[in-house]
Symmetry: C2
Subunit: 356 residues, 2 copies
């Protein structure tokens, strides 16, 4: 098979631990399915600030650009929280999204059977919840001009939210296409009763919609969506929205599943290239203790196999292995009911590798 | 007693029905407590569009400006949803906030005992939830410059989010002061890792905080707040945030209580003047049937008594009457478990009036 280049950016906190297990899983699929991967590691986030003086070193970006896919652990931690903007891990995150043209963030929010009880929502409300938030990732208020100026009432700060037709069109098309492969329902979320960017957004959605007649479309205002996610989570299939709303709603959706430690995500650009990472953060409080849960990162590999490489069999094998290990009752501390029986990161990784 | 002028804008849908009951409650307190109110009615929202060709007629604004407080029902409905911007009810809402200088939206989110089960959250998670979202209401991306322009990639839309130090300071001070009267905890919500307006916001909060040493302050990123509201709602006391984030989070908070049909709100400016309205919408689907729930509007009167007039005894009497009627098992359709036993708007209003 041809060699696929994987850029590995383990990052901070528990990032390196969980990524190590995900790589073992990839190696196991090399053996079993005959794939070939070449891994190249890059520094990113807090560790890159410490070692290179910038959260996103040129070398790391170069490694990513040469790669077919990126596997990311997690970045950030209190150590860098009070740094100036240029020296913050988040700045690296925004930089890598922009530099790699990753305009689409795919955030599945589904419920793991064994974690149903972990949700703060009633089980009967959660029943059947399986949605994907498609978040625009390189536009909007995140990347518009920002500055300070002297105004009539003292200093003021300005952020600019900009969207052009092309940016909206590509993300909305992607969302329609994803909906076509699922339950064929798309909720487009905006604030068209207030924002000009939202009015443009809605116009584009309405113009494109007739090309996807098999998909049922609804427009939902962002405040209403924040409510409906709580009231009827299972009624959503695909949600598409702009960057800032997507940041908030994808986290709300993830949390309501109760399975946040298990959720994977993909950030995609044009073509098959993608960056894959767990939804959870760098968890500095438990880093280095070998007790973190590698499942979200391992499932991010499955997502990579599906979306970037079309390795559907192996993706299924991974997902199935995870299910098997969980069904057998194995748990890391974060998802264990009886914490005294919790197993560590490496043990969980090994069990999954063996189950593939 | 001196006469208090009340501007009444009943609005659309169920607005007139629920406002009528709230006025009966006010009249009862005139009798019992010796207050004197003078009511002047104004057209607003959809009905004003139909009758006057604008959602916020000059006369209505004049009535509000002369008044000591405004009682608002609800505005909007599908009939006006596809109107151009100038002819939409929401435009009236934004207009009245700006024209009356209502920079602060107070949104209590608490759980009514009889509605605990109505929440989609587990009762044990909800237990003790009693928070207030203090939302900045006349700044930010709602009121910044908005326009279209031709860009390199076709047409683009622009919204501008602006905050000055004065705007942030006054709302944050108000939130600190509210926290001082409660459990003395303030969560300031921003997106300081991305937005310049949020960085200004956080600077102001940190500068002011030492003046309120008895209040415990935490900074919470907006995406994290959307999650924490779900995970630990009862741990929040007062949340203060900017306009757009407040729109989303106050609705999320309201919905998680399960009591959205019962929640009141206040919009305040400098001084004692305020606009009071239920959190629920105009519910056009049930308008005119006499089955809507007037309790949120009646409780908005109690909020008006407390915040604008300092009529604490009467506020308590109203709140107590509501509790008594609910405890006796009376329910409107929206909150009834056994819908066949539900009572109507007028019957509910009468029960509460008699219980005061
Ligand atoms: C760290 C932050 C800049 C980032 C974002 O807001 O995009 C994060 O919250 C995320 O969702 O990946
Ligand atoms: C109708 C709309 C403009 C308004 C807002 O976003 O402020 C509403 O959602 C609210 O919260 O009062």
């Amino acid at each position: 098979a041809d060699v696929k280049k994987i850029a590995v950016i383990a990052g901070d906190g528990i990032g390196p631990e969980v990524v190590a297990e995900a790589i073992k899983v990839m190696k196991k699929t090399e053996e079993l399915f005959g794939y070939r991967f070449e891994f190249e590691h890059g520094l990113f986030g807090g560790i890159a600030i410490d070692e290179k003086g910038t959260p996103l070193p040129e070398e790391t970006l170069a490694i990513c650009k040469k790669a077919d896919a990126v596997l990311l652990g997690a970045v950030g931690g209190p150590k860098w929280d009070n740094n100036s903007k240029e020296l913050r891990p988040e700045t690296g995150l925004l930089g890598i999204r922009k530099a790699l043209g990753l305009f689409s963030n795919i955030r599945p929010a589904n419920v793991f059977d064994c974690l149903k009880e972990a949700s703060t929502l009633k089980p009967e409300v959660l029943e059947g919840t399986d949605l994907i938030v498609v978040r625009e990732l390189t536009g909007g208020i995140y990347f518009g001009e920002k500055f300070r100026r002297e105004g009539a009432n003292g200093q003021e700060a300005v952020d600019t939210c900009v969207y052009n037709v092309t940016e909206v069109e590509r993300i909305v098309r992607q969302a329609f296409e994803i909906a076509q492969t699922r339950r064929k329902k798309l909720a487009s979320v905006d604030k068209a009763n207030v924002l000009e960017t939202s009015r443009l957004w809605r116009e584009v959605v309405n113009r494109i919609a007739p090309e996807y007649p098999d998909v049922e479309l609804e427009h939902v205002l962002v405040d209403n969506c924040a409510m409906q996610l709580l009231r009827r989570p299972s009624s959503f299939d695909v949600i598409v929205t702009e960057n800032m709303f997507g940041d908030i709603l994808s986290d709300e959706a993830a949390m309501l599943t109760g399975s946040i430690g298990m959720l994977s995500s993909a950030s995609l650009g044009e073509g098959a290239f993608g960056l894959y990472e767990p939804v959870h953060g760098s968890a500095p409080d438990i880093a280095g203790q070998g007790i973190s849960n590698p499942i979200a990162t391992i499932l991010s590999v499955a997502l990579m196999y599906r979306l970037t490489f079309g390795y559907h069999d192996a993706a299924e094998a991974i997902e199935h292995a995870v299910k098997e290990v969980l069904d057998a009752g194995h748990r890391t501390g974060d998802i264990a009911v009886d914490k005294s029986k919790a197993i560590g990161t490496v043990a969980m990784g090994e069990l999954i590798v063996n189950a593939i």
